[in-house]
């Protein structure tokens, strides 16, 4: 029994299903990300938890109490929005104190300055939203959500409007604050890097359902489906034909475990870092060979594109940049695929 529990949530908009029976359970103090392409239902799920949408079926409970029919203002959920949501007529401090004033809680000034310090903006208490940068506004929004000591913190793509550097810094800061407060948090994002970096568990969603819910490492290394593999991280997809205990790609047999009937068309999914590459000359001798078409420098690694001999499919291989000089464009190479995933085409 989790602390935040979503059971059998269904919701459709104008006949289009947005959620098709979503079950999700968060332990107390856990940060779970919902990750998926736009339209997968992740935001709808979050809005149902917040009380902004009503589910067609299913229930939401927090700490064992059913809150399905409770209006949004009585749920004690702190929420940070994608759009800048600070009240424009109030200063940073007044924004943070808003929820406290509604609750008539004492020590508002002390609590407000504590929260401003928590998000590192103690010096900006008197600033109005239009006098702050996007990152600062989202920090204040986070402090405002935390001020009411919510039972659950809901983050609806809070970083997507920010530029790359601020995004990474704020993401780490959210994680630090969330961990130190032990705040149960549901984080919705379409950015897989963000989800993998900050979450205890990542739920990958597609078409209103959870495809996989597990720790970031498991989701990345052992994706439960082709969708998860392709959505999380970078993958190559190579076409082939299934054989017993392997796959035939062009004229070459690649060893792989799979449960597809021999003879049917398959897709071989493999990550760029799971492909070995070596210079090669002469006959193929049963190896997967090709020639380097392009190189793109990505910093620590360089992504080498190889066109396979025979059927001309392209495969991207990640190599440490220090080694990439061994494979200039035009080099004949042999590839070694490991950790492949085979699915029906």
């Amino acid at each position: 029994m989790g602390y935040l529990e979503l059971r059998g949530l269904r919701k459709s908009f104008g006949g289009q299903p947005a959620l098709a029976g979503l079950d999700l359970s968060l332990a107390e103090g856990e940060l779970v990300s919902l990750l998926g392409p736009s339209g997968c239902g992740k935001t709808t799920a979050l809005r149902i938890v917040a009380g902004f949408e009503t589910a067609d079926a299913g229930s939401v409970s927090v700490g064992g109490r059913d809150v399905t029919g409770v209006p949004a203002n009585k749920r004690d959920m702190g929420m940070v929005f994608q759009a800048y949501s600070l009240f424009p007529n109030m200063t940073a401090a007044q924004n943070i104190a808003f929820g406290l004033r509604l609750r008539r809680s004492g020590n508002r000034a002390r609590r407000t300055s504590e929260l401003l310090d928590l998000v590192g903006l103690g010096h900006l208490a008197g600033r109005y939203p239009h006098q702050m940068s996007g990152g600062q506004q989202q920090r204040v929004a986070l402090a405002r959500a935390l001020a009411i000591e919510p039972r659950v913190l809901l983050l609806d793509e809070p970083l997507s409007a920010l530029d790359a550097k601020v995004r990474v810094a704020l993401r780490d800061e959210i994680r630090r604050i969330q961990t130190s407060l032990g705040m149960t948090t549901l984080f919705v994002t379409h950015d897989q890097e963000e989800a993998l970096a900050v979450s205890d568990r990542v739920g990958v969603m597609s078409q209103g359902r959870l495809e996989q819910l597990d720790t970031p490492a498991v989701v990345y290394r052992n994706p439960a489906s082709a969708f998860v593999a392709q959505f999380v991280g970078v993958t190559n997809t190579v076409h082939g034909v299934a054989e017993d205990g392997g796959v035939r790609v062009g004229a070459v047999r690649v060893e792989a475990e799979h449960e597809v009937d021999a003879g049917s068309d398959v897709k071989v999914i493999v990550r760029p870092e799971d492909i070995g590459i070596a210079q090669h000359s002469g006959q193929a001798n049963g190896a997967l060979v090709g020639s380097v078409v392009t190189q793109s420098f990505l910093g620590a690694v360089t992504r080498v594109s190889v066109r396979l001999a025979g059927d001309g499919q392209e495969v991207r291989v990640d190599q440490p940049s220090s080694r990439a000089g061994d494979f200039p464009v035009g080099t004949a190479v042999a590839l070694d695929l490991s950790r492949v995933m085979v699915v029906e085409a």
Binding site: A50, G51, F52, P71, A72, N73, K74, R75, D76, M77, G78, M79, F81, A83, Y84, S85, L86, F87, P88, N89, T91, F98, G99, L102, R103, G126, R127, Y128, Q131, A141, R144, A145, I148, L154
Partner: protein, 256 residues
Amino acid sequence: MAVVVRRLVLLVLGAFFLVPLLAMAEFSTRGAGGSRSLESWTAIGSDPDLVEAILASVQLAVTSSVLVLVLLVPTMTWIRLRLPVLRRLVEFLCLLPITIPAIVLVVGMAPLYAWVDYFLGDSPWTLTFAYAVLVLPFAYRAIDAGLSAIDLKTLAEAARSLGASWGTVLVRVVVPNIRTALIGASLLSVALVLGEFTIASLLNFDTLQVQVNLLGKRNAGVSIAVSLLSLLFAFVLLFLLSFVGGRRGSSAVEEG
């Protein structure tokens, strides 16, 4: 060259506005035998009917703009948040009065006002209902622009998640952030109500404009003086309201 053109335009426009006002001032201060006299102006205060009409009009200006704001702000907010399908319909209904001539409105309202008379008496403030309809299109446009300028949905949801009731959302979040639009809407309403003649006259209410018209028939000097006074009052009001709006806006920046 551009400066010359600009000054010329200002001069022509200024003259266009000021000449009639100066002429009114000149006419209303004419005394016997070509002398200057403030007789017409001092007569304003000593005519009890006129004073009463002025008070009635000012009162109507306040009640009408308050009524129209109290009706429109919650309705328009709710429709934007919860019933967007109705937005076109409500916009159409609110803009409708502008297409109907006042005289047609009066013909329709006359039988209605027989009942208003019967239930609420015949004090001029019952005109509030008619005037609220009259200023509806202008107030709607102003408030609509104000609501469009803020991210209403996100602000309302943020306030809701922090524990605000819908009433609190309206009073503490929506109203302060569309303040300029509300000032604009009430200014338009006040100006419209102070200048309204047709409806008041045909429904037999003694408002400022009705009295001005009556006075014009027996004492043109006082009538012109009152007209000038009401124009000046509207200018002062406009200046004050825009000053209030502007001052608060800039203090927001200074405090930071």
